[in-house]
Amino acid sequence: MEALLNILNELHPEVDFETETGLIDNKILDSFDIVTIVAEIDSEYDVQIPAVELTPENFNSAQALYALVQKLMEE
């Protein structure tokens, strides 16, 4: 989780990712962020996020995103 928070904080140091649950709904993340996050997750966790998992729900909070990463790691 810490590594993921580092990735997110690097992109948006002004956002509190531990509490924010509307990263997509509140237009905090844009398409560039998504591309960057997916690439960084790949290099950090060796996890490739497939297009079907690119949904607003999976990216609305750091918690949801981490759950996705864990799910993909188990597969």
């Binding site: 992109l11 002004e14 960057t36 497939p50 297009a51 079907v52 690119l54 949904t55 607003p56």
Partner: protein, 503 residues
């Protein structure tokens, strides 16, 4: 001979009044409705005695926004598109540059508009569109209009921290539309899926041919560009067959292996601009759509959007890049070296553009205009302007133009043209910043900011967000005790680049 871009609209209204011209996910306007609204807006502006000046169109991205653009032109005025996603500081800088005119807002922008110290009159779109059409007044404007009169101003990044307003006229836009259409072969069955915002000039590629042929443009919701499967489903649902997108929007789809799940069913023409298409991603597109045409477009706002094209007509190796190709008809590209001479074939030179598509120059900025729009040094006989792009190019063995970098610190990032100097100026304006320098990691496409001063990276980022558009916010911001200097005392960008690569 056509002298006014509204003749495109009037032709389509006569041929296919009830066809949908512009739509988004929820709303749509037919050609007759577009014309009716545009004429009402134009008549309302004239009724307020506004003729020939600027009209700021500060509205969300929506089909009605386009009718505000055309209404402005009906009144003989030129529109200045702004967007509710632009930061306040930038909007204020632009408004300060403009002579007071009229600002058109909608429900989403009204509150912000009223807080701005706009020196002109603020009007709501819904009120202007209620006005009656005054055919006589509109005809009078038309009779006196010349094709060298301006129709819009778009603001681009300026290295001094102040955006530059590029002014285009009827004639340059008509020249652009005619030759673009010849190459891309649009027709009345073309269904465009628009990706680019309305506050630059890229949307002209879709909107003007839509008027010319009675085609259709669908404005794609911005949010979809984060979710590629939904995006491709949207393309299919609306039977979109033609794209003119920035490269990063296309690669976002292919890089996520979206095509494993869903494929575009109707696409037949894919034009792209603003950046080099990474070859691996390009090949994915080509393999999924083997029958489609792919056209690389190149050109700055100062030459009415684009000036060169290359239609992909052969296979490329992974290490190769797509060329810029050559100019559209009625446009010439001249390469010039440091001594204003044409370099030997294969040698590098600055890409300079000659032709009708040159815009009028920068709004109220004679110094910057004179730097970029200059006398053709190869012509010593009569006055003739060329535009110096600041881009470097060279001819390959096939005689095709290839992009070879920049003369200055301008970059292309996420489809946007950015002066790194503009970011530095804004950062240096903060009282707790001592010095700042921006570099660009071209490989990973990241803007990297180094700074010194008594402010945290979080606070500095929050500050930048209030001053700069989203796409100009550095992707990495790092604080240093001191910035490295060259022997001449300038900030050493090369050393910063090395420092960044080490991390």
């Amino acid at each position: 001979m056509q002298t006014n871009i509204l003749e495109y609209l009037e032709g389509s209204v006569a041929r296919c009044p009830d066809k949908v011209a512009f739509a988004d996910a929820t709303d749509q306007l037919t050609f007759a409705e577009v014309s009716d609204r545009a004429k009402r807006i134009g008549s309302s502006l004239l009724a307020m005695n506004h003729r020939g000046g600027s009209v700021v169109v500060f509205m969300r991205k929506h089909p009605t926004t386009l009718t505000a653009f055309f209404g402005t032109i009906y009144a003989g005025c030129y529109y200045v598109p702004l967007d509710d996603e632009m930061p306040r500081h930038r909007i204020e800088l632009i408004i300060k540059t403009l002579d007071p005119g009229i600002l058109i807002c909608d429900d989403t922008t009204r509150a912000i508009a009223e807080e701005l110290a706009y020196p002109g009159k603020i009007c709501h779109y819904d009120e202007l569109v209620q006005g009656d059409i005054n055919e006589e007044a509109l005809a009078d404007v038309r009779a006196k209009q010349l094709d060298i009169d301006p129709i819009y101003i778009v603001f681009t990044s300026g290295s001094t921290g102040i955006p530059k307003g590029v002014m285009a006229c009827h004639r340059s836009v008509i020249d652009y539309v005619e030759h673009l259409c010849d190459v891309l072969k649009f027709d009345e069955d073309t269904v465009f899926g628009n990706q680019t915002p309305l506050y630059f000039d890229a949307y002209l590629k879709e909107v003007m041919p839509t008027l010319k042929y009675g085609a259709t443009t669908i404005l794609i919701p911005k949010q979809l560009f984060m979710f590629p499967i939904k995006l491709v489903e949207f393309l299919n649902e609306h039977k979109i067959n033609t794209l003119c997108w920035v490269v990063s929007a296309l690669t976002m789809i292919s890089a996520f292996r979206t095509f494993d799940t869903v494929k575009p069913e109707y696409l037949r023409t894919i034009a792209f601009a603003s950046e080099v298409f990474p070859m691996k991603q390009f090949k994915i597109w080509k393999s999924v759509l083997p029958g489609a045409r792919f056209i690389n477009l190149y050109g700055p706002t100062e030459t009415t959007g684009i000036c060169c094209y290359y239609e992909v007509d052969r296979e490329f190796e992974d290490h190769e890049t797509l060329p810029i190709g050559g100019p559209f008809r009625n446009t010439q590209i001249i390469l010039l070296d440091e001594n204003n001479k044409v370099p030997a074939i294969g040698d590098q030179g600055e890409i300079c553009v000659r032709g009708t598509r040159l815009t009028l120059g920068y709004y109220r900025n004679p110094e910057k205009t004179a730097e970029a729009f200059v006398q053709n040094p190869l012509n010593t006989i009569y006055p003739e302007l060329i535009y110096r792009t600041g881009d470097l190019g060279k001819l390959n063995q096939r005689g095709e133009l290839e992009f070879a970098g920049r003369k200055d610190y301008q970059i292309k990032h996420m489809g946007h043209r950015i002066e790194l100097g503009e970011i530095e100026v804004i950062v240096n304006m903060h009282e707790d910043v001592r010095s700042a320098c921006c570099i660009f990691d071209g490989e990973k496409k990241k803007i990297v900011l180094y700074y010194t001063g008594d402010i945290t990276t979080a606070d500095l980022t929050a500050y930048m967000k209030s001053k700069l558009p989203r796409y100009m916010i550095p992707n990495v911001t790092r604080q240093l005790e001191q910035l490295p200097l060259t022997p001449n005392g300038k900030i050493d960008r090369n050393l910063l680049k090395k420092l960044y690569e080490k991390k």
